[in-house]
């Protein structure tokens, strides 16, 4: 393995090692799947930030002053995370970001469900408020967080490359 000037960045070292392996198709497949989901979700939200802000407000968690900035930033953050997953050197950061996002979504949905709220979570654009759909999305977030954690942990457990 060639040690470049930026080889001190641990995430790069890990992902370079991964790309040199015989091919971890599972990680690649999960990465592509997560990237597709988050890029799609981001573009669905970015069309109508007002609608997304209404969805966020429905959860009753964020203070009013943070709702609109969050509605403006989150779609771009999701799209960026999706693209980070597509490129091996940045996959690790993208995976961590998506894991954190999924945990946050899970907590918000669970909180709303426990409070008896019936909402449209706005996860994939606007839709009709539905509790069964909220439970499905709760489960989906578990899957997404699991996939992202898998990618992140796999990339951190790669054996270090010995310098020449």
């Amino acid at each position: 393995m060639v040690e470049g000037p930026a080889a001190g960045l641990c995430w790069e070292r890990g992902m370079i090692a991964r790309s040199s392996s015989t091919g971890d198709y599972a990680v690649l497949g999960v990465s592509l799947g997560l990237a597709a989901v988050f890029i799609y979700a981001g573009f669905e939200k970015i069309h109508d930030p007002l609608d997304f802000a209404d969805s966020i407000a429905g959860f009753g968690i964020l203070p009013v002053v943070f709702i609109n900035p969050f509605a403006l930033a989150l779609p771009l953050f999701e799209i960026a995370c999706g693209f980070l997953l597509l490129w091996p050197p940045t996959r690790r950061v993208g995976a961590l970001a998506i894991a954190l996002l999924s945990v946050m979504f899970f907590a918000a949905l669970l909180s709303a469900l426990l409070r008896g709220l019936t909402l449209d979570c706005g996860c994939f654009g606007s839709g009709a408020p539905s509790r069964p759909r909220m439970w499905i999305e709760l489960g989906l977030n578990v899957v997404l967080a699991g996939g992202a954690l898998l990618i992140y942990l796999r990339s951190t457990m790669v054996a270090p490359q010995q310098p020449a």
Partner: protein, 196 residues
């Protein structure tokens, strides 16, 4: 060989992947935080460049509706679309026969002191609040004409309210330009209190 590699040789536990260096994880979190801040900055810029930018502070659907309604009645008088007008005779007969919905556009304090019998208070200065209360009634009586009046003379409240109602889809809206001044001078019947 780069200085980083030298560091690896000296302190393998610091940079080696197999030892799960905490600083690597912290660096990843820092990268995520930077990404979040960059997303926020990009989102704010995109918002500023959009046709309908979001305000900094979120407004509920009701607040936005109120703001829209309030905007409807803050047009400058010279920009008001000319609503059809009625004179005292026609207005009086509409009140007598109850063939039209009569709306008083004056502030509620004046409405309570005295108003045309059967009139409803749709005050210009509290248009959003009053409209929300009266909307079901107004929408259920679309077959009736709506006649709006205010103090009379130079008052613009009746025209502003009529204009706002037309913007909201009410087509048969007219203004009694003589207003309360002409009605009361003619010594016609009056009602008092908050009810019609």
């Amino acid at each position: 060989m780069s200085s980083v590699v030298s560091l690896n040789r000296l302190e393998p536990g610091l940079t080696g992947q197999s030892s799960k260096p905490i600083w690597c994880v912290l660096r990843d979190f820092a990268c995520v935080a930077l990404l979040a801040m960059a997303s926020l900055a990009a989102g704010v810029v995109m918002n500023l460049l959009s046709d309908r930018p979001l305000p900094i502070v979120y407004q509920t659907t009701e607040q936005r509706f109120d703001a829209d309604l309030t905007t409807l009645v803050t047009a400058l008088p010279f920009k008001i679309a000319p609503a059809a007008t009625v004179g005292l005779g026609e207005f009086h007969s509409a009140v007598e026969s109850k063939s039209a919905l009569i709306l008083d556009a004056r502030p509620s304090v004046f409405f309570e002191q005295g108003h045309v019998p059967g009139a409803l208070n749709l005050a210009r200065d509290a248009f959003a609040r009053d409209y929300r209360q009266l909307a079901p009634l107004l929408k259920s009586a679309t077959d009736k004409a709506i006649i709006v009046y205010c103090a009379g003379g130079d008052c613009h409240d009746s025209r502003l309210v009529a204009n706002a109602l037309m913007s909201l889809g009410f087509s048969n809206v007219r203004v009694f330009t003589g207003g309360w001044e002409e009605w009361s001078k003619a010594r016609l019947p009056v009602s008092a209190g908050s009810g019609g």
